[in-house]
């Protein structure tokens, strides 16, 4: 435990009467002592609460800024994919084509030595049980079964409607879960607490099953298996991470390739289609709409019901026609500050705790208009039986890739597409990417870079238009695992506990019965036997948040220094704390409490000014990389995740290695795109992506590896020798 003994405040006033508190045990003295301890303790907790809050803000700001970067480069990614990836179109061995009537997975042998679970279709309860216990024992499912399961999943999803309609009248309650993000422990905990999916225990999983966590494969296998086992009682909505380009950046691609070295590519390819076939929304009792992100003022459920959803392979892969306009809008929106209103603060701990299990009182939505006018209210059977020849045939035909024409150059970007395709894309992206906001109106989601922010008026209008009462969405991590907004008309449900850091948040799921009054259940996975104290939890999270922030500072070093210098009229190297805070925010635009964070990021001089260069102290490589120009290091730092994503794209076989030629070409394209000067001299070996990982960036400065590798140092070396 702590051992410091100094008071943490600036004031040392001694007001309490010393003599009284030192001796004796009269009741008045006891009370006085109790009050004193209570005062101290409450202040101690208040300080922790403040630190917890800014830690949360840092994580959230950095998370969304990452998504924004990813989306801002979407045109570039589309271009890269068209030029470099074999995943689209002309793949010689498309596992889902059944030309000879023999699916490819059937050619894969299951070795005698394989001791994991065996699957046969149709699945039975024994299979799902076997899967669950195998995953609890850290086993993996054989690639053959993975491919077969995905294949069956795809066949099943093809005949599902875009919007699934459920009714509580057949069940007692329906359970809705939010983001899992590869956290198998959370999924298993939900099943443990709430029971396995079954005919009596239906579930809706609201997207973002994969990425970030290490067990994304396990999660989708379990979810898909249960969906095939109980097709009427297990439903999956698509999330913004069920997107193969997002997976390149946020870890799922890597996870698949690590777990399935030989067949990983086939699995990924199949998943691309499976993901795009996931339904985009679920409606319960024609009253409760469940989507991953949210809505916009353009959201039209009738239109969404009719689209060909599988065409939207990725939010980052625009229909051709949109690319130009996006590039234009991106330019025009540059320089605008992020909207202050974007952030929902962390939920208030104590308050929300008391709300658990209470209904959100679905207010006075006049639900008399329950007639079947809108297609939304049409019973599920009819939409399922509706023929969808176009969908099935286009997915299975060998020419199905025609809607994403392979481009030889940027010149062909202007290819005409049907205007509806753009509209379909936009409608789906809004459902998967949007966040609610407090103010009325609908504005582009500048913070995430995709979807929009929708205000209470947008929610009201949509609910009214479709005769709905409630919108349940996920997509945002919440301190308590759930949160209500828009007068209780919008529920956010998030099921991955400890999402940012151990102890950062609880997970939750929500249950709806025939009365449609939501009941929330919270939990938190913990690995250690002893409960961490608040102090330990806050400190651990805070440390990693600050580290991430220091990297951000370094990545914008030259801009920051230039801005600092504008304030530093006399070149003293120090500026006032207010100026410092303003300068940092003007460059990073993370909307963080910089003044409060300052003591953790930069030193004060003797006269109370901020020595601004000290905020790079902890991260700047300084002498360890003498051959590197600071600017290049900074540029690489700044775009490292983008670059990693891009390398993942050109790394066709996902081997973790790309050739120097490929690297050079990419670096050139990318630096042209960013208008960063790239030099190109010639190193001589293959470049290993495996050491190119975030951790390498924080600590990888010290020691160059022997081969040309992509730890930060290797990369900088490689890049600086290209001329």
């Amino acid at each position: 435990m702590g051992c410091g003994t100094s008071v943490s405040t600036e004031d040392q006033g001694k007001k309490l009467d010393r003599d009284e508190s030192t001796k004796g045990s009269c009741p008045a003295l006891t009370m006085k002592a109790a009050i004193l301890i209570q005062r101290w303790y409450r202040r101690y907790i208040a300080r922790l609460e403040m630190r917890r809050r800014y830690t949360w803000n840092i994580f959230q700001s950095i998370e969304y800024a990452g998504e924004q970067e990813q989306l801002q480069l979407s045109s570039f990614f589309s271009f890269m994919l068209d030029n470099f990836t074999p995943l689209n179109g002309s793949s010689p061995c498309d596992p889902m084509t059944e030309d000879g009537g023999v699916a490819r997975y059937e050619l894969i042998d299951v070795e005698q030595s394989y001791c994991g679970p065996h699957l046969s279709f149709p699945l039975s309860v024994n299979h799902t049980n076997a899967l669950l216990s195998a995953y609890k024992d850290q086993q993996t499912l054989h690639a053959r079964y993975v491919l077969q399961l995905l294949h069956e999943t795809m066949k099943f999803l093809e005949q599902m409607p875009n919007i699934i309609h459920l009714s509580t009248s057949y069940y007692k309650e329906i359970t809705i879960c939010g983001d899992l993000h590869g956290s198998l422990d959370d999924l298993l905990l939900i099943f443990y607490k709430n029971g396995l999916p079954s005919a009596n225990n239906p579930y809706v999983f609201n997207g973002d099953f994969v990425d970030r966590g290490k067990k994304s494969v396990e999660i989708i296998i379990i979810l898909f298996a249960f969906m095939l086992l109980y097709p009427d009682h297990m439903h999956l909505n698509r999330g913004n991470h069920e997107d193969h380009i997002m997976n390149l950046r946020y870890g799922f691609t890597k996870e698949v390739m690590q777990k399935y070295k030989t067949h990983g590519r086939d699995i990924l390819q199949l998943l691309q289609d499976v993901f795009s076939l996931l339904p985009v929304a679920t409606v319960i009792d024609s009253k409760v709409l469940i989507v991953h992100g949210g809505i916009s003022d353009m959201t039209d459920l009738n239109f969404l019901d009719s689209i060909e959803r599988h065409k939207v392979k990725s939010a980052l892969r625009l229909p051709r026609r949109t690319i130009d306009s996006v590039m234009v809008t991106r330019c025009s929106s540059q320089g605008k500050g992020a909207v202050r209103s974007r952030r929902r603060g962390p939920a208030r701990r104590s308050r929300l705790r008391n709300h658990s299990g209470r209904s959100s009182s679905s207010s006075s939505s006049s639900s008399s208009s329950s007639s079947s006018s809108s297609s939304l209210c049409s019973p599920r059977v009819s939409s399922r039986s509706r023929p969808r020849p176009s969908l099935a045939s286009s997915v299975l035909s060998p020419t199905h890739s025609s809607y994403v024409p392979c481009l030889d150059s940027m010149a062909s970007i202007a290819i005409e597409t049907q205007p509806t395709e753009e509209e379909e894309w936009k409608q789906v992206v809004d459902l998967l990417w949007s966040d609610p906001k407090i103010q009325d109106g609908c504005t582009p989601n500048t913070f995430r870079g995709g979807g929009c922010y929708f205000g209470p008026d947008v929610t009201r209008a949509l609910l009214q238009r479709h005769g709905l009462r409630l919108l349940i969405r996920s997509h945002q991590c919440k301190q308590e695992g759930y949160e209500l907004c828009h007068d209780g008309q919008v529920i956010t449900i998030f099921s991955a506990s400890n999402y940012y850091e151990v102890g950062s948040n609880r997970g939750a799921y929500v249950k709806l019965g025939p009365d449609l009054a939501p009941r929330f259940f919270q939990y938190q996975v913990s690995r250690c036997t002893r409960k961490l104290t608040l102090h330990q939890r806050v400190s651990a999270a805070e440390d990693s948040a600050l580290k991430a922030l220091q990297e951000k500072l370094f990545a914008h070093r030259s801009e920051l220094v230039a801005t600092f210098q504008q304030y530093d009229k006399h070149s003293t190297g120090a500026i006032s704390p207010s100026d410092w805070a303003q300068a940092v925010e003007s460059v990073l635009r993370l909307d963080l409490p910089w003044r409060t964070l300052r003591p953790r990021l930069a030193r004060l001089s003797q006269d109370g000014d901020v020595e601004y260069l000290s905020c790079f102290d902890n991260i700047y490589p300084s002498k360890t990389a003498p051959q590197v120009t600071p600017n290049l290091a900074e540029t690489l730092y700044r775009y490292r995740t983008d670059l990693e994503t891009i390398f993942n794209i050109i790394d066709k076989d996902h081997s973790g290695l790309i050739s120097i030629e490929e690297f050079r070409h990419t670096w050139k394209l990318f630096s042209t795109h960013l208008r960063v000067a790239a030099e190109d001299r010639r190193p001589s070996s293959r470049t290993d992506l495996s050491s190119w990982r975030p951790s390498g960036w924080c600590i990888g400065w010290e020691r160059p590896r022997r081969r040309t590798e992509f730890n930060i140092k290797g990369l900088i070396k490689t890049a600086s020798t290209l001329s």
Binding site: M1, G2, G4, T5, S6, V7, S8, T9, D11, Q12, G13, K14, K15, L16, R18, S21, T22, S25, T30, M31, K32, A33, A34, I35, L36, I37, Q38, R39, W40, Y41, R42, R43, Y44, I45, A46, R47, E49, M50, R51, R53, S341, R344, G345, P346, R348, S350, R351, R353, I438, R530, K531, T533, L534, H535, S578, P593, R595, T596, P599, R600
Partner: protein
């Protein structure tokens, strides 16, 4: 006190910024209001040590008449500026904190039983809620001996914020 007008103004402006920054951290809806239940946390996070009674006085002064349960920045700012400028609710020296525990440790054992501490904290003074008590015990109780070595605990509570 205010001979040097410029200096005083600068000091006030610094205090304002400090208060606003702390306030904003709790302004979940970005509309320059905070929940009234957070105000104690904000005041304390600014280095103050008010009693619950003193806190209550402030709250009745600043709570919004129309929007019950909310406090606006424009109401909070002047009151809090006064508190900070006049150095109200000053910190209690930490040696007093240790002495306070010694008062509770009537047999001078050097530690308190969890039940003892719980009794004092929830029945005396300005009683802790269950949540507060649970959290305090989880941090204070030595996991091996199952007692509170309050000297260690005081050390933890008084460690300087980095």
């Amino acid at each position: 006190m205010a001979e040097d007008k410029d200096g005083a103004e600068a000091a006030v402006s610094e205090v304002h910024k400090k208060i606003s920054a702390a306030f904003n951290l709790f302004d979940d809806e970005s509309n320059t209001t905070v929940d009234v239940r957070e105000v104690g946390t904000i005041i304390r996070s600014l280095g103050c040590f008010p009693t619950e009674a003193e806190l209550h006085e402030i709250l009745t002064e600043i709570e919004d008449e129309e929007l019950t349960g909310l406090v606006r920045l424009e109401k909070f700012l002047p009151v809090m500026t006064k508190v900070l400028m006049e150095r109200k609710f000053r910190p209690v020296p930490e040696e007093l904190l240790l002495q306070a525990f010694e008062v509770l440790d009537q047999e001078k054992k050097g530690y308190l039983e969890p039940e003892e501490l719980k009794r004092f904290m929830t029945q005396e003074g300005e009683p802790f809620s269950n949540d507060e008590m649970e959290e305090m015990l989880s941090a204070a109780v030595d996991p091996d001996k199952n007692v509170i070595f309050y000297k260690d605990f005081v050390g933890m509570m008084t460690v300087r914020d980095p």
